[in-house]
Amino acid sequence: MEYCIKIQLTVFAMGLPFLDSFFAAAGRGVWHADELGLADAQVVATGHAALDAELPGGGWPVGAMTELLQAAPEAHVWRLLLPALAQAVQARGGPVVLVGPPFEPCGPSLAAQGLPVEALMWVRSEAPAARLWACEQALRCADVAAVVAWLPQARVAELRRLQLAAAQHELLLFVCRPDSVALSASPARLRLRTDRCEADASQIALHILKRRGPPLASPVMLPARNERMAALLAAARVRRKLRLQQQGTVVEAGETATSAKVVRIDAWKGGPGALDRLAVAT
């Protein structure tokens, strides 16, 4: 019966100009599964252009759960989330609540990358139920900027409750889980799995498991180290090569000169970055 009506409507639409515009307008509100969806809520840019291009709306969704699946609980979290967390803290002014992080977050390092030390709050509880409860309480708080939770044992119903709380209070919520749950169902709107790139250790391979859009064939590659660390490593490599040359030994084939590219960083001049200087000077 419905099909008949639709067909009739289409037939009418061929002839009637005003219905053409109606169909065009209706088409705009429809998301086709083969194109990247639009965010229906606010997003926060991830700070990585390559990743932004693949996410619906161009950033982490605010008011929805984002799931990070990783083999090691500590891996790549800050590299992926730090720019967005720093933005959220600047915009909302509240703390970032870390529920059950695997290790102690190092304030000076995070502060150097834009997340002030005062904007951290560490809830350390081991019991899964207490973590879930703390996570929900943090989501219900108006002053919190974002919640990052490590919930290795959470079930779907519990995650759904967190997702609803995040949607109700419009917060950034990141849940880190082991990558063994990649095949199970999840209420998260966005699911990512991080892998170390086998070919190049300085890259993260980011598989987007679930998003509003077509499935991603090849993983998104992101640099695994921040610019300063990459510069430091490059400088160390150049220095080692020079030393080897001075000693007259043959440069090993693996350490090609092309991969060693020194990146100049202006902060060397300003700040008391003794460590960076040390890496270049000696």
Partner: protein
């Protein structure tokens, strides 16, 4: 003089689980908001409003306000007015019995609505007196001799011929109320039901006093002096504190119930007492029309207090930057509950300067304790042999310290190393001073770059 008499009727009074009225004092505190002259007379709350009725927009408007602002929403609130307190009370009693009021007040009021005449109702009825007017027309001397001075005085007061005297209610400086539990409480959460009643009273007191509560003490009396061969103290108590003064009972109720859930009663409890320890002047809340200012949800201190009460204060931590070169001491994690309100400006600026140094070489994750690494000949191992990439960075600090400061000087050479499995890690080689040297080189893992 103009009096308003108020009374609260519960539909299903007497059932143990049914709604309960706030304590009489608390209702009196509520009424003090409208007039300074409030007293309990028998079963009714009397308000003398002649001096303040214009402030509230007239008698009718005041009655409407009172009825709309019922302090016990579960109960039906009755209110009547009269020129004297006895007339208002008599009309209230008629109203409660759903009888029509007589034409001429006070002379036509039935005699059983006068408290002073209740003892003599039979005799007066046999004398043919059914209304106040009947008794008032009896000869004064004989009436006083036969029934005592009390009845005649009451009638004089009802007609406004004698001044009335009342024990006016006043607001105490400190809230303190005791309540007997409906049944002996065996476990701490059972106290919550009665604590709710006390909290409702506290809210009325806070509103009348224009104050916000910062610290409360809930105390219960133990019913046994000795239990299992152990002498018991007469009382046990929990103390609840909140960072900002509040009149919001929902937050205090949650804090108390979380505290009670962690408490065990050493014996059954019979009485409950709530006392304010600290109160602050209540400033009220400033509101804004901007949508981003009106984000729904709890306030930060409420969340922190709730988490700290249930998980323990040492589980909810905030960092503060410290001036030290040892990485494990560059930040101190303190309980978020005891966060200083506003650190001094200078100290904060110093801390910010310390924190904003370009410390890119520090790893974002620190191990709580440095992990001793196993050695593969000369090279340390952590999930595979480590290859040193950047370093050394030499740290010599802590020589001034005593036991709490770390025990011995930290003399370390830090390296960024790469592990085939774990990626970049931050390791250090302990460089023992010459006189402590045992010749052994020890490597430790202190952080992860991830």
């Amino acid at each position: 003089m103009h009096w308003i008499a108020l009374r609260w009727l519960l539909d299903d009074a007497g059932t143990p689980e049914g709604p309960v009225l706030p304590t009489p004092e608390a209702i009196g505190w509520w009424a003090l908001r409208y007039t300074p002259h409030v007293a309990w007379q028998d079963e009714a709350l009397m308000l003398e409003v002649s001096a303040c009725e214009r402030l509230w927009g007239g008698r009718l408007q005041l009655m409407r306000l009172l009825l709309a602002d019922n302090p016990a929403p579960d109960a039906r609130m009755l209110g009547t007015q009269g020129a004297t307190s006895l007339i208002a009370l008599a009309r209230l009693r008629l109203f409660a019995r759903e009888e029509k009021r007589p034409q001429d007040v006070p002379a036509g009021l039935p005699l059983d609505t006068l408290s002073a005449a209740r003892a003599h109702l039979d005799l007066l009825a046999r004398l043919g007196c059914r209304t106040w007017g009947d008794v008032a027309s009896l000869p004064r001397g004989g009436l006083t001799r036969r029934f005592g001075a009390e009845l005649r005085d009451a009638l004089d007061a009802a007609w406004g011929l004698r001044p009335e005297s009342h024990a006016w209610l006043t607001l105490p400086d400190v809230f303190e109320q005791k309540l007997e539990l409906p049944a002996l409480a065996e476990t701490a959460p059972e106290l919550m039901w009665s604590a709710n009643r006390l909290l409702a009273s506290l809210q009325l007191w806070l509103r009348a006093r224009q104050r916000g509560a910062r610290a409360l003490e809930l105390q219960w009396t133990l019913d046994l002096k000795r239990f299992n061969g152990v002498n018991l103290p007469p009382h046990q108590q929990v103390t609840v504190r909140t960072a900002e003064p509040t009149q919001d009972m929902a937050h205090l109720r949650r804090l108390i119930s979380e505290k009670l859930a962690l408490t065990t009663l050493s014996a059954p409890a019979s009485w409950l007492r709530l006392r304010t320890l600290e109160t602050d002047p209540w400033a009220g809340a400033s509101t804004s029309f901007l949508p981003e200012d009106n984000r729904k949800g709890d306030r930060l201190h409420e969340m922190v207090e709730r988490l700290s009460v249930r998980l323990g204060p040492s589980q909810v931590l905030v960092p503060s930057a410290q001036a030290d070169h040892r990485p494990e001491r560059k930040q101190a994690w303190r309980p978020a509950l005891h966060k200083d309100k506003a650190p001094p400006d200078k100290a904060r600026r110093q801390a910010q300067a310390a924190a904003s140094q370009p410390d890119a070489i520090y790893p974002p994750w620190l191990l709580p304790e440095p992990l001793r690494l196993e050695m593969d000949g000369e090279r340390p191992c952590y999930r595979g042999t480590l290859s040193r990439l950047v370093g050394p960075q030499r740290v010599e600090a802590g020589w001034w310290g005593d036991k709490e400061e770390g025990g011995q000087p930290a003399m370390r050479d830090y390296y960024v190393a790469e592990s085939p499995e774990a990626g970049l890690v931050w390791i250090f080689r302990e460089r023992p001073a010459a006189r402590f040297s045992s010749g052994e080189v020890r490597w430790y893992l202190q952080g992860f770059y991830a």
